[in-house]
């Protein structure tokens, strides 16, 4: 099933208030203050955030005026286009040309880092790549065991130390092993950490430095996992993680619920970090490349199909 279809299916499960209101809103004929106020609310309800919402609505007003838009469909198309200006129109693929390609996966607690790694590993092995996992979450109880299960499921190898070991050391070994074994991709798990814990962010900086030292130019991809259910805090997370380890992309998980994860629009707007993958289910294949056009469509789709 396509990403578009999956997201739609997810949305179908609970007919979202947003959907109904969108439908109602865009069948109106005049664009008065109430119209814009309603529009603001709809975007806010999708967790787009105040600042981005106000900017989008402001730009939409200008566009309506400049281009003398009259029909609701025109206005809707204009709004989608404004959001796509921020998100970009084309999917941004992972940079996988290095051998081994080192991918660091980061995020706060409970967003789905380990699951994302499992799904990415399955995707790569299905493409015939040789994949190695590094169990860098040495903090949480049973995190290593969790990754081991994903290694089995995805037919990849795993490098691990004990719980409580230095994550930098685990990942250093991972990089060395990836090079020695001729792996195509090394996926590095890290412990979930809240971005306001300075010591844990310092630990992350060290991991980043160590990877670069073990293999100059690495990590080639640094992915931040964001939970679609999370609100405005995702933006703060992206900012701080980006300072500790320059991010190359976002993975938006748990999009199969009713949350929209609109905050990725704010992340793209402020930090210019593209969304690269979305998680749309529990299955091993439920991680899909992010397609901005389909994502924006799914936000504004007004009819069940």
């Amino acid at each position: 099933m396509s990403l578009f279809g999956r997201i739609k299916e997810g949305l179908k499960k609970t007919r979202n208030i947003i959907m109904n209101r969108m439908e109602e809103l865009f069948t109106r004929q005049n664009f008065d203050e109430d119209f814009f106020a309603e529009l603001e609310e709809i975007l806010i309800a999708a967790d787009v955030g105040i600042e981005t919402t106000l900017e989008l609505v402001e730009k939409l007003r200008d566009k309506i005026r400049e281009e003398k838009l009259k029909a609701p469909e025109q206005v809707l198309a204009a709004l989608k286009s404004l959001i796509l200006d921020i998100l970009g129109r084309d999917p941004v693929p992972l940079q996988l040309e290095h051998k081994p390609t080192v991918i660091l996966v980061l995020g706060v607690n409970g967003v789905g880092k380990t699951t994302t790694i499992g799904k990415l590993a399955a995707r790569f092995t299905a493409e015939g790549k040789k994949v190695l996992l590094a169990a860098g979450d040495t903090f949480r109880a049973a995190a290593i065991e969790q990754l081991e299960i994903w290694a089995q499921r995805s037919h990849s190898d795993i490098i691990k130390h004990q719980q409580g070991a230095d994550p930098s050391a685990v990942i250093f070994d991972g990089v060395a092993a990836a090079a020695a074994r001729g792996a195509d991709v090394l996926l590095c798990d890290t412990a979930g950490r809240l971005h306001n814990k300075a010591n844990l962010m310092a630990e992350l900086k060290k991991v980043y430095r160590v990877v670069d030292k073990a293999l100059p130019g690495a990590p080639h991809e640094v992915l931040l996992v964001l939970d679609a259910t999370t609100g405005q805090n995702s933006l703060a997370q992206a900012k701080v993680f980006n300072e500790a380890a320059p991010l190359t992309g976002v993975v938006l998980t748990k999009l199969d619920g009713t949350a929209k994860g609109g905050i990725v629009i704010a992340v793209a707007r402020q930090l210019k970090i593209p969304v690269k993958f979305v998680g749309v289910g529990e299955g091993i294949d439920d991680l899909q490349p992010f397609d901005p056009v389909a994502y924006v469509e799914s936000i504004f789709t007004t009819k069940e199909q």
């Binding site: 997810g10 949480r140 065991e145 081991e148 609100g231 405005q232």
Partner: protein, 446 residues
């Protein structure tokens, strides 16, 4: 940190209001627009915000505010009252069963922190002399059972598991075992699930029917956005929820989800999770939270923390020593260690009044806990005699202490200087406040 921005925003708005002698309806609208934006930015659901602002506005436009001499304060009071009302007015406790064991189910989305919360709640109950049994009924997430087992081992508490079997059967068998082993609480860790997943929601309903639990707690990530309402409503519609546990409050989220979830479920928030360690867990105090939003500080929590940590008798001894100026480096070390037991300094600082308003300035500042370690090491490298009579510490002793503690002579000098200064200040303080000092001595660090 929590609600920090919301509180500084509201304060900013009301500072403007405070200057005004009399408010017009327009003033009230301006203020309430700020309240609305701040709440939305704090992730409070837009519908909840709408209702909240409408209620506050209605009261603000009543004669009590417009004619009040200090309308700004009146608005603050109303916002505070309504906020407290929205979050529940008193501390909600767990409801024990008439006949043990008391059964508690923890439910929620994936990644909200259920397993960690089970361990924290178990630790909380253990401290209150209960004997909880932890039940691993998350049979879906890889290694979830193992995670609970590891946590149980750390806490030295029994964990019941039957591998990947039917969770309802597991829970039933666990209750039987609890009865046999005289465990008075049974804490059931369920698998994380999306509220739109009918099959898994049905499983929870079956579990509720089979166990007839006294409590079903919904575990909610404090960072949750607008969708918190949908999630909470869906769980509420299927299960007899009795309360909420709010997790990850140690982050810098403004935590508006607390308000949303509370408003749509009507269930009280019973506990909050404040960190990854099993003791980072507290009851939820709605009134304090409202004060915190308004920047009035969370002094009560701080005092309670201090009381739990500080030994009453020791505090009295200390107070006496301070008054008679027999306060030694030994006492100082002891005090430092007690302070450390109260939790991360950063958290303590945030609870002090006035800190909310300074939020922006404080944000970049990290309290350096390492300084503490240094000071501790220095004092521990001193002999008993030196600790009691620092004046004997000459330069050769200083060199020895520095070498022993892995610090520089400079650090030792600094510490001694500070200690002398502190003693001098205490001398003055005792002279100045001879009569009033008694009540204060209990918290010498303040």
């Amino acid at each position: 940190m929590l609600f920090e921005n919301l509180s500084s925003k509201l304060q900013e708005t009301f500072r403007r209001l405070r200057g005004k002698g009399k408010l017009t309806e327009k003033d009230v609208n301006t203020a309430l627009r700020e309240v609305r934006l701040a709440l939305l930015e704090a992730d409070v659901n837009f519908k909840v915000v709408k209702d909240f602002v409408a209620t506050v506005k209605e009261r603000c436009l009543g004669s009590e505010v417009l004619e009040s001499l200090t309308p700004g304060q009146m608005v603050i009071k109303i916002v505070n009252e309504e906020l407290t009302k929205l979050m529940g007015e008193s501390v909600a406790k767990l409801k024990p069963a008439d006949k043990p064991p008391t059964i508690i189910m923890l439910v929620g989305l994936q990644g909200s922190g259920k397993t960690t919360t089970v361990a924290k709640l178990a630790n909380h109950l253990k401290k209150a002399n209960h004997s909880p049994l932890l039940v691993a009924a998350d049979v879906y997430r890889p290694a979830a059972i193992k995670q609970l087992q590891v946590l149980g081992e750390q806490l030295k508490l029994p964990v019941f598991q039957m591998g990947q079997q039917n969770p309802v059967q597991i829970a039933r068998a666990a209750v039987e075992q609890a009865k046999k082993n005289h465990n008075d609480y049974v804490l059931v860790d369920t698998a994380g699930r999306l509220h739109v997943d009918e099959e898994l929601m049905d499983e929870l309903v079956q579990m509720e029917e089979a166990l007839q639990p006294q409590e079903i707690l919904l575990v909610v990530d404090a960072m949750t956005g607008q969708d918190a309402v949908t999630v909470a409503e869906s769980f509420k519609n299927r299960l007899g929820l009795t309360g909420i546990v709010l997790t990850k409050l140690d982050g810098d989220t403004r935590g508006g989800a607390a308000l949303s979830v509370r408003a749509v479920t009507g269930c009280p928030i019973k506990f909050v999770g404040l960190g990854e360690k099993t003791d980072a867990f507290e009851p939820f105090y709605p009134d304090r939270m409202a004060s915190r939003i308004l920047g009035m500080g969370d002094v009560l929590t701080l005092i309670e923390k201090a009381q739990a940590t500080f030994d009453e008798k020791k505090a009295k001894e200390l107070e006496k020593k301070m008054r008679t100026q027999q306060f030694t480096l030994e006492d100082f070390l002891e005090q430092l260690q007690q302070l450390k037991q109260m939790g991360p300094l950063q958290q303590l600082l945030e609870m002090l009044p006035g800190m909310g308003g300074m939020g922006k300035k404080l944000k970049g500042m990290q309290v350096d806990e390492k300084e503490f370690v240094k000071v501790e090491a220095i004092i521990q490298s001193m002999t008993k005699e030196e600790r009691h009579n620092p004046s004997i510490i000459n330069s050769s002793r200083r060199r020895r202490i520095a070498a022993g503690s892995g610090t520089k002579v400079q650090d030792v000098n600094n510490l001694l200087k500070q200690f002398n200064l502190m003693n001098k200040m205490m001398k003055q303080l005792t002279k100045m406040e001879k009569g009033r000092f008694k009540g204060r001595g209990r918290f010498p660090f303040m």
